[in-house]
Amino acid sequence: MDEGARPIGLRRIIQMNDVWATYGSGHALRGVSASIESGSNYAIVGRSGSGKSTLLRLMNGMLAPERGAVRVGYDVPDARGRRFRRTLRTIGYIPQNLGLVKNTTVLRNVLLGALPRLGAVQSALGRFPEGEVAEAERVLASVGLGGMGHRKAHALSGGERRRVAIARALMQHPTILLADEIVSELDPGTAREIMGLVSEAQRRTGLTAVMVHHDVSLALEYASRVAVISEGKKVLEIGVDGDSITDFQTGSQSTREAVEAYSRDA
């Protein structure tokens, strides 16, 4: 990642220190520490229920840690707090089922990304400024959905829906993109096209991508770091540079195949 593209003056844009999280009973996360470099593509993999989605929700403050500290830039994430609102506007979030509004059009879904920068009265009337509409149309075209703005969101294919969700996030002019399994359940070709959109946006704007993956090989292909979560703990974090992989806990070097084998067991 070239140094000039860093959007928020901090080299480590997201930091987590010994974070615990709970939904009431039991612990979803048990002491996770992580440090995510600005502009990087950070992947999170692990079994179902291991705590991947929870980790993402801590990064935008949709969930508060039970214990430990989370920092995004200079802020403590808290989606309900007024102070963090400004930062939130530039944190794109694509939840596990995408969170599209199904009974409205593709264009309106994309425009949701512009809501935080619009005035209360204007947006309460449901109107969007022409400039925003034009931008939404441009963004839609850039994700390969040009001319599909008028379609209803529920009448789209799985791949198209993911493109809409990415377009909505890009509409925010994000410095960080949190994406939860957005390429799972897609055929490998479509999954790579979608990942290509994220890479392309990263190249263009220098945004930091934190992506949960189901498929380890996709994570290894697109991420510069991969964290493996197991039962609420980070059991492995590796740096990916071509075919050489560094295990940061032991400092040892290994190959892609070794990591794939490891995370299948994790």
């Binding site: 935008n60 949709m62 989606a79 609102r85 400004r86 939130l88 506007r89 944190i91 794109g92 979030y93 694509i94 939840p95 596990q96 089922n97 995408l98 969170g99 599209l100 509004v101 199904k102 009974n103 409205t104 309106r108 949701l112 990304g113 809501l115 935080p116 619009l118 209360a120 947006s123 309460a124 009337l125 449901g126 529920h154 909505r168 925010q172």
Partner: protein, 256 residues
């Protein structure tokens, strides 16, 4: 049936018999009263066709009352349903609003009509107010249940980017709950026309007023004209609203 099932059934039968004796509900009276029905029927057959225009006018008034009451009621119910939805409003708002709505629903529309006749006097206005109250209590409940069933993910996705509650309502809650609204409106209008037809019994306007007046003077033939007009109108409205529903109501999409 199990022995305990027999016991329960036996107890229920015994209670029904005991309560009937207690109330003086004698089946013999029912049988003996059947000829009276014949007399009524005979009088009713002497329908006076000259009254049909009057009956149609009265029905038109009834439908107007129901229409105004339903529309105003729904207009009040919608914002109330937002305030009552647990996933939108905080507890200190939704708890009192829900209690208020529950209290409003406790009264049948005929009781509201009596209350408003006392307040604003005899006439259609009292009936309209009664219909509004009933509609608010009923539609707000239906609608807050719809809102509470909305998929939480789009709401999360919008709140997670720093959008305001008002924006959430306008851009997520309304589109996701609107598809049920037309159906509820039609249902309510249909139901309210039937209700309004009887509000006249307590003086709150509409066609029921004529019916009760004629019945009081034993003019069954005249009452019958008005009752037949109610019947025909209700059937027609039922047919029309089914047609509209089938044509315009899109089945809400479910799943990711």
């Amino acid at each position: 049936m199990t022995p305990s099932g027999n016991l329960v059934a036996g107890i229920i039968v015994a209670l029904v018999v005991a309560a009937s004796v207690n109330l003086g509900a004698n089946p013999g009276l029912f049988i003996g009263g059947l000829p009276n029905l014949w007399i009524v029927a005979e009088e009713m057959i002497q329908v006076d066709p000259g009254l049909v225009p009057d009956a149609l006018l009265a029905m038109a008034e009834t439908i107007q009352m129901a229409f105004v009451g339903t529309m105003v009621g729904v207009a009040i119910a919608l914002p109330m349903s937002l305030l009552a939805a647990r996933n939108i409003a905080p507890a200190y708002v939704h708890a009192p609003v829900r209690a208020l709505l529950a209290a409003v629903r406790t009264f049948p529309s005929i009781l509201w009509a009596i209350l408003f006749v006392i307040m604003v006097g005899i006439g259609p206005f009292a009936g309209i107010l009664a219909i509004i109250m009933y509609t608010v209590g009923f539609v707000a409940k239906l609608q807050y249940e719809v809102i509470e069933a909305i998929d939480p993910e789009p709401m999360d996705a919008v709140l997670a980017i720093g959008a305001s509650r008002l924006q959430l309502v306008r851009h997520v809650v309304i589109p996701e709950s609107a598809s049920h609204l037309l159906g509820q409106l039609l249902y309510m209008l249909d139901y309210n026309i039937r209700q309004t037809s009887i509000l006249g019994l307590v003086g709150a306007g509409g066609i029921g007023f004529y019916v009760i007046t004629y019945l009081q003077f034993f003019e069954y033939g005249k009452a019958a004209v008005f009752m037949l007009v109610v019947l025909a109108s209700v059937l027609a409205i039922d047919w029309a609203s089914t047609r509209i529903r089938d044509r315009y109501i899109v089945r809400p999409y479910s799943g990711p």
